[in-house]
Symmetry: C2
Subunit: 196 residues, 2 copies
DNA sequence: CGACTCCTTGACAGCGTTCAACAGTAGTGG
DNA sequence: CCACTACTGTTGAACGCTGTCAAGGAGTCG
């Protein structure tokens, strides 16, 4: 187990986190725009962001892209119930993550740990709630409403005093909201001219 | 799994489900277009469809509606991790459901049942997967693609030999796909003229 | 039969996309 | 230090897909 972890290890000290007390987490760094894991790839690790930002997405054969969620420092992603990841994950900027072998954290889970299972449940329930809200946004809101909702979400999650800097570019925002980059840009101009 | 085991001891079929073996389920009937539970309402029961169909949805203050999922005979819905339902559920047609008090089924769950927790986890994971696929559909597919995908999904789930009858009307389909009823109707015409 | 609901179809408008030009910034190398 | 390039974001103009508005057909029910 440890040898597999050290394959990704940077040689830095290992970390312990509240979830899965017996777990050893190691730190790893992904540079901007690199893939962390791919859709349908075996889910061997779970990840927690230390710094940076990550997007998870699905692709259509012709290149159309839908971003499912953004993950920011503190967020955990890559947790699955089945064997495979359901979305691709990519670093939006240079990103440091803590990663741990899934069997190590939830190993007991697949056997008999109630605690591990409930942690997974909590994380999936949170993802599901986010996805369901996002369905309403994608299906039934206008471009300006979408961008406004996005800004509100980011404002809340980046818990910023006054101003904040978005780690993702226009293309990411567009693919998150089901718009084009031009529409995002226009919506931002409109919101700005209305005072925001 | 979630198979229904039917016994014909009394003439009427009696249902037992693998999930929560010690549970008592009672049958209940909802007539067409009535609410089964509301968004934010306390989640006291979980439901399994015997016959009929159910939609779950979110509403915007101005009446815009997004349907999150359709549930068909055999499907379980209303399962939550937290205390409250995150979407409203309504009967699409006259619908018979089996319902069971949540504490009864997952009572052990909130205390120490690994089995109950893992069943909830499995159901939520399935919902999440469906929602994530639906995000891609809502955000990045054209009206004809949406309707085609809807038909394929229903064809699969209604497991019908040859033809099948949709329990939901055009408005439900439209609110599921993020379209208007007219667009759904047009897309159906186009698909039909292309042979389907 | 009339009233109602649901669905389809047509005409047109509008929102968001597409295509295009341009500004701002950063990186590179002369 | 400045040209050159590459990339990102903004803005404009025209197009087109989907929404809106309207009419009419098909089916149901009293």
């Amino acid at each position: 187990m440890l040898d597999i972890i050290s394959r990704h290890s940077t040689g830095r000290p290992e970390y312990r986190v509240a979830i899965g007390e017996s777990a050893f987490w190691s730190e790893f760094k992904y540079i901007k725009d690199t893939e962390i894991f791919a859709e349908n790839e075996t889910a061997d690790y779970i990840y927690q962001i230390v710094s940076g930002a990550v997007r998870t997405l699905k692709l259509l054969p012709d290149g159309r892209r839908q971003i499912g969620a953004f993950y920011l420092p503190g967020d955990i992603f890559g947790v699955e119930n089945g064997d495979a990841h359901r979305l691709t994950a990519e670093a939006i900027v240079d990103t440091k993550v803590l990663l741990a072998k899934r069997t190590r954290i939830f190993g007991e889970f697949s056997k008999e740990s109630l605690r591990g299972t409930r942690e997974v449940l909590k994380l999936l329930a949170r993802s599901l709630q986010h996805a369901e809200n996002h369905l309403l946004l994608l299906g039934r809101q206008t471009s300006v409403e979408k961008v406004a909702a996005f800004l509100i979400e980011m404002d809340r999650r980046l818990q910023s005093p006054g101003a904040f800097i978005l780690p993702m570019n226009r293309r990411d925002i567009a693919d998150y909201l089901g718009l084009t980059i031009e529409s995002v840009s226009r919506a931002l101009s409109i919101l700005q001219s209305e005072g925001l």
